[in-house]
């Protein structure tokens, strides 16, 4: 699979994200492919399991930053919504929004770890 095609399937805006890496596609590619080994989601997941809202806020906030840099816009949006909900104390919305984050994360990781990319 071409890198650009992969970006399309991940809903990553190729041109805008490439510009974030100052046009260095090799660097962009390296960081995007390394995303599955990023530990941020694991921290968010652990905080969620422990019912630690503060930990979840921090984790979601960090994950939002990483996904924004990599152009993973669906994950970025889901993380942002979760952070906002926690900040305004809307605990009822947290489980649903967390589920969206998890779904977006797993979809991205699945694609990035597929045989076609390797």
């Amino acid at each position: 699979m071409e890198f650009q095609e992969l970006c399309g399937r991940l809903s990553v805006d190729y041109a805008a994200t490439l510009a974030r890496f100052s046009g260095n596609e090799g660097l962009f590619r390296r960081f995007l492919l390394r995303f599955p080994s990023d530990g941020t989601f694991a921290k968010l997941q652990a905080a969620q399991a422990a019912g630690d809202l503060t930990g979840m806020e921090t984790g979601a906030h960090t994950l939002k930053g990483v996904s924004a840099n990599l152009g993973l816009s669906r994950l970025q949006t889901a993380c942002d919504q979760l952070v906002q909900a926690i900040r305004r104390g809307d605990e009822a919305a947290v489980p649903g929004l967390y589920a969206q984050v998890e779904q977006a994360y797993r979809a991205a990781v699945e694609l990035l770890q597929s045989e076609e990319v390797r």
């Binding site: 510009a19 974030r20 890496f21 100052s22 660097l27 906030h61 960090t62 990483v66 840099n69």
Partner: protein
């Protein structure tokens, strides 16, 4: 000149950019954006950044600083830098996802130059950083230029002062040559005046709390005390015997002639040296009892600097050979002065004069 060539070049001195962020991805994106313009330094937290800043303070052009980090966060680092006055030299940019009003306010209060939201857009970050860096470097360059010019001005002022002094000395020496003397008289009087003023100050005498600068000015002005002798005819000036009453009257005018000469000098009104010289020229033949000339001033009406030069002049005239007399010894000269044979002097001044010679033999003075 050698100094100029070996000192570090002012341009290109700040060639480093420090990126402080705990996330490798964020550092990589910023590094990539600035790789062409700077050598990049990276730190994962405030502590690491602080040690790099300490090490490279004079080479870092700007700091791009994340806020939330382990060890020392962005705000703590800012506090440290502010405490060390480093924010005046190195612009710091906060790079943060949290652009809440409260955080931005705190950042600006601590002295950051700009706050840039995450995720960054390299093109805009470069533009914002480069304009501030240019501003800082221009300011630094101008500051350095002004420093250099200040040093140059100070050096030139000193040269002018020395030139001024040497012109005064040449003038006074030329006049002394006319009286068949060597020119060392004016230098001895200047030195003796300097010593006497310092002694008066040290003893805390009333009206004698002179600054070093004022003492220098009076001592230089003392050189001019006889400048009016230029207007006195040779046959009177160099007459070996006693002057007639008429000749003496003419001789006395050297005090007023000196003042007239000084008044022709353009800086007369602004330069304190000439004001002292004016007093000294006019009054260095006045006496404490009012029996001197030309104005017959009495006691405290005679400016203290004119009294000091008068005493120095008399002592030096006595202890050196003149066309009309042989030199007296120090002991003889002291007895003559204290015995009132050279006119009456301020008793406080005479006491100080005696103590000055107690602490330093006259030979060492000049």
């Amino acid at each position: 000149m050698e100094e100029c060539r070996t000192s570090p070049a002012p341009f290109g001195a700040r060639d480093l950019l420090l990126i402080v962020d705990d996330m490798e991805l964020n550092r990589a994106i910023l590094s990539e954006a600035f790789r062409g313009d700077y050598q990049i330094l990276e730190a994962e937290n405030g502590l690491e950044a602080l040690s790099l800043i300490n090490q490279y303070a004079h080479r870092i052009a700007a700091v791009l600083l994340d806020v939330v980090m382990p060890e020392m966060d962005g705000f703590q680092l800012l506090e440290e830098l502010k405490g060390r006055d480093l924010l005046e030299q190195i612009p710091v940019f906060l790079i943060t996802a949290d652009c809440s009003e409260e955080k931005m306010h705190r950042g600006y209060e601590l002295g950051v130059m700009d706050i840039i939201g995450k995720p960054v857009v390299p093109y805009f970050v470069r533009r914002r950083v480069s304009s501030v860096v240019e501003l800082f470097q221009t300011r630094e360059r101008l500051g350095r230029t002004v420093d250099l010019q200040d040093q140059q001005l100070a050096r030139q002022a000193l040269e002018i002062q020395e030139l001024n002094r040497s012109i005064i000395e040449s003038l006074a020496t030329a006049i002394e040559f006319r009286s068949g003397e060597s020119g060392s008289h004016v230098r001895r009087i200047s030195a003796l005046t300097d010593q006497l003023l310092r002694q008066l100050r040290e003893e805390g005498q009333v009206g004698c709390a002179f600054s070093d600068e004022v003492i220098d000015q009076i001592a230089a002005a003392a050189i001019l005390h006889d400048v009016g002798k230029i207007a006195i005819p040779d046959q009177i000036l160099n007459k070996p015997g006693r002057l007639t009453a008429e000749e003496f009257e003419l001789m006395k005018t050297h005090t007023i002639k000196g003042c007239e000469l000084l008044e022709q000098i353009p800086q007369y009104r602004t330069n304190p040296l000439y004001l002292y010289a004016h007093d000294i020229c006019r009054h260095h033949h006045e006496r404490w009892d009012g029996r001197g000339y030309p104005d017959g001033l009495k006691g405290e009406d005679i400016p203290i600097w004119a009294q000091v030069v008068a005493l120095a002049d008399v002592y030096d005239a006595l202890t050196n050979e003149r066309c009309y007399k042989p030199p007296f010894s120090h002991q003889e000269a002291m007895e003559m002065i204290l015995g009132g044979q050279c006119g009456v002097f301020n008793p406080v001044l005479l006491d100080t004069f005696r103590r000055l010679f107690d602490s330093a033999p006259p030979n060492d003075l000049c």
